[in-house]
């Protein structure tokens, strides 16, 4: 099942939640919509599901105009951030709901419904909870039941709105892995919304980065991390050092200090320089594009993080391997192994 979204616009009062969004999702893909809150990612998901309506634009699911159909007819599985399980029904009845409300002509009989629910509960590995009520489950269990419920109707596409957003870090990591293997198993076209970059990069085949109602970049997890298309993407994904620079006559300046950095093809004017923290190589004073004094050093698992006051006055944080000896008070040279400069 493919999903195609064309020039989608949605306004809430004066606020443009979606400001002209185009997106194509291929069959069997697991796509992440990644962005800060207010970027429009949930609105986009809800419009695809039929829970919200756009002011302009098109939504085409598998070649059909989805906007001509209500949420009921679209046959889309939707998983909510806060689960939205039916609190007065047992787990079994929650999963069975989609099967029980089908029109009489195509509704399965009791035995078939029972078998299907059991199959789904096995799939999410929670068959032993069938008689419990949602209030008796943990957050992670609730979300897996919500997923089983959405899958019960054999949806054409599966939409997940911040599925792990309300869970604690450990459960979240487990469920990420589980979701990826589940997707591999059932292979239904899926879109999930998240504000957690790690989650998006780890789970998805393709990542759509959104900001302020627009798509900033679409690409594989490697693409968006290694070659960010905009200053926003660079700043949002991965931990970056950001410095305000001036590009003039083929020279990049930080304050009044020219940097030994290539400036071909860059538009002159105020720009921003981005470097990943671990891409700053440490050398003796005078060896790199930057020079600075180490303020203090802390250890973070495999790396040490140093705060460095640059000679231009800015303070940056860099990550260095643990075996590189660094002490507060050292003067060091810094050379960015990789960097990007964006105008603006």
């Amino acid at each position: 099942m493919t999903i195609e979204v064309k020039n989608l616009v949605k306004k809430f009062g004066n606020f443009a939640a979606l400001d002209g969004v185009d997106l194509k999702v291929d069959s069997g893909e697991l796509l992440a919509l990644l962005g800060p809150s207010g970027s429009g990612k949930t609105t986009l998901l809800r419009i695809v599901a039929g829970l919200d309506w756009p002011d302009a634009g098109e939504v085409v699911i598998n070649g059909e105009d989805a906007l001509a159909q209500g949420a009921r007819e679209r046959h889309v599985g939707f998983v909510f951030q806060h689960y939205a399980l039916f609190r007065h029904m047992s787990v079994f009845e929650n999963v069975a709901f989609g099967l029980r409300v089908q029109p009489r002509a195509i509704r399965k009989d009791q035995v078939a419904i029972r078998a299907r629910v059991k199959e789904l509960l096995d799939l999410v590995q929670l068959d032993w909870l069938a008689d419990r009520y949602p209030s008796q489950l943990s957050g992670g269990q609730r979300q897996r039941i919500a997923l089983a419920r959405a899958l019960a109707i054999e949806p054409r596409i599966l939409l997940l709105d911040e599925p792990f957003g309300a869970l604690d870090a450990k459960v979240r990591k487990e469920l990420r892995k589980w979701l990826r293997s589940l997707h591999h198993e059932i292979n239904v076209t899926s879109i999930f919304v998240t504000h957690d970059q790690e989650e998006a990069l780890e789970v998805a085949n393709r990542v759509v980065v959104m900001d302020k109602g627009r798509i900033e970049q679409i690409g594989s997890p490697d693409d968006v991390y290694e070659t960010p298309a905009s200053a926003f993407v660079h700043g949002f994904i991965g931990e970056s050092i950001e410095l305000p620079v001036q590009v003039e006559g083929g020279v990049v300046r930080l304050g009044d200090r020219p940097l030994r950095l290539a400036a071909e093809g860059l538009a002159p004017g105020a720009s921003r320089l981005f470097v990943r923290r671990h891409d700053m190589l440490i050398g003796p004073p005078g060896s790199g594009a930057f020079e600075g004094a180490v303020q203090h050093v802390r250890n973070f698992g495999p790396v040490q993080r140093a705060e460095v006051a640059l000679s231009g006055g800015q303070t940056i944080e860099i990550d260095a391997p643990r075996d590189r000896e660094l002490r507060a008070g050292d003067t060091i040279g810094l050379e960015p192994r990789r960097y990007r400069i964006f105008a603006g």
Binding site: L51, R72, F78, A84, L85, F86, R87, G98, V101
Partner: protein
Amino acid sequence: MTMQIADTVSLSSPEAKARARAAAARNNLRTEPQAVRIAIIALAIVFLSVFVVLPLVLVFAQAFSRGLLAYAAALAEPEALAAIKLTLVVAAISVSVNLIFGLVAAWAIAKFEFTGKTFLITLIDLPFSVSPVISGLVFVLLFGAQGYFGGWLRDHDIQILFAVPGIALATTFVTFPFVARALIPLMQEQGTQEEEAAISLGASGLQTFFRVTLPNIKWGVLYGVLLCNARAMGEFGAVSVVSGHIRGETNTMPLLVEILYDEYQFVAAFAIASLLAMLALITLIAKTILERRLEDGEESRDH
């Protein structure tokens, strides 16, 4: 034995005394002196006895003052039976109308955004802030002989005032906030996600309402209906204005109590009053049970 001796010894030690004083000081911080506590509790008990228990006991004492037979006879009077029947009919009408209205209003307010929503919420509270007599007078102004629709109603031979429709209308007006008021906060808190989930799973609007929305709010609905019913049966002011006090026809139970009392028929008056008092007691008990149910529902949601 040795243990006990040790205890006595340690109690008399200065350290233990200091500890005991500290404990006493903590107690003093936590509560008032015993005398004050007793005085406050006694005041509350006396107040409740004089203003709640005593009147209730008196109602029953007066009703049974000439014995069980006189009580039964007073209730078996055609006038009394007519009043009971009318009260039940009016309560049935106004509760059903307000149930539907309350559900629709609460649904609209809790699940949709629209302009004028705050105004609608204020409007729902109107009957609570207006004197019931005024509420009754409004219907006289509308449907009375000199009222806006009076002429038209007379031409078409439709009787609203001084008849069951007028009493039902006035009662419905006075009681309409109860169901809506009970449901609005409940439905607002529950939000729309479960309904959205139901619809995305293929449920129709009606299926969503009966399978998801209604089970979630059923205790709130019962709570609203209970209070609405209690008020509908007990309403005096508004009904008094529109009823016309036609004996055996348009007297509800509260109106009949007043009439019988004015005629010095104390046993009969208090017999009817005792029925209303019993309704109040049953309502109170049911209300307590329902409130517990509603709280349980909230707790299970918090997990």
